[in-house]
C-alpha cells in the first residue's frame, strides 16, 4: 500500500480571468501565470471559475483584437487554449450568487460587479481567489470581512 499524500499539498482556488488570460496570451504577467496553470494541468491545483469567466474572457479577447491588433485567428487560438485548461466551472452563477454579489458590492467600493461573482464563488467554496488585479485586492482588503479570501498573484496581497 502506498503512503497517503500530505493533505497540506492539496490546494484549491478560484482563478480570475486575469490569470487565465495572462497564460493563453503573451502578457506581461505570463511568467507568473505559467506555474499556476502548470499546476492546474498536472492535478496539483484544483482551479474553479464561475461560468461568467467565459464572458469576461471573450471581452478580453476582442479588446486584444480591436485595441492591440491581434488577428481573429490569434484570439480564436488563445480562447481555445483556455478551453483546454481543466478548469472546474460553477454553473448558473448569476442565479446562485446574485444576492451574495449584491451584498458584496454594497460593502466594497471600487470593484466591478463580475469581480464579486468570483469572490462569492470563492467564499462559497471556502477557497482563495487568485488574481493579478491589485486594485481588487486592495478594495477587498480595505473592506476587511473577506480580506484573507483574495490573493494577489506575485504580490504581497
Amino acid at each position: 500500500m502506498l503512503p497517503a499524500m500530505d493533505p497540506g499539498d492539496f490546494e484549491a482556488v478560484v482563478l480570475d480571468t486575469t490569470v487565465i488570460a495572462a497564460f493563453v496570451f503573451n502578457e506581461p504577467n505570463r511568467a507568473l501565470s505559467r506555474p499556476i496553470c502548470a499546476q492546474v494541468q498536472s492535478d496539483r491545483l484544483l482551479a474553479f471559475v464561475p461560468d461568467l469567466m467565459w464572458a469576461e474572457l471573450q471581452h478580453v479577447c476582442v479588446r486584444k483584437r480591436d485595441r492591440d491588433g491581434l488577428t481573429q485567428a490569434e484570439i480564436d487560438a488563445a480562447y481555445g487554449r483556455a478551453q483546454a485548461l481543466p478548469l472546474i466551472e460553477q454553473d448558473r452563477t448569476l442565479e446562485r450568487y446574485r444576492s451574495a454579489a449584491w451584498d458584496l458590492l454594497a460593502r466594497i467600493s471600487g470593484v466591478g460587479s463580475y469581480d464579486m461573482y468570483f469572490l462569492a464563488l470563492a467564499i462559497d467554496l471556502g477557497v482563495p481567489l487568485w488574481t493579478f488585479d491589485a486594485a481588487l485586492c486592495r478594495a477587498v482588503q480595505n473592506e476587511g470581512s473577506h480580506a484573507e479570501r483574495v490573493r494577489l498573484v506575485g504580490g504581497a496581497g
Partner: protein
Amino acid sequence: MAIVRPSEKDVADLPLEQPVVVDSDAPDNAHAILEIERWCHRLGLVRVKENWLRVVRTPLGDVRRAVAFRPAGDVAQEYAGLLDEIDRRAEQMALTSSSVGLRREP
C-alpha cells in the same frame, strides 16, 4: 456534505490503476468535485478528470459520481506536452496589454 461511498477502509488496499467509484452528496457539481478531490488526495488517489459529474439517483438521495484510482506513476508528466505547446504558441504572439485593464474597457 459527505463522501457516501466508498469508505476509506474500502480503498486502503486498492491495487494500482484499478478504478473505484466515489459518490458525494454535495449540493452541486463544484462542491462535489472539491470534496472528492480532497478525499482522494488524502488517500493517495487521483480523480479521473471529468468536469461535470454525473448525478445518480440512489435510495438515499441524489449523489454526484466520480471515478478515481491509485496512480502507478507521476500523472504530472502526462500533461507536460500540452503545456509546452501552449507556451510555444503564446510566446509566438505579440506582447499585448494586461487583461487587468482590458476587462474594464468598454
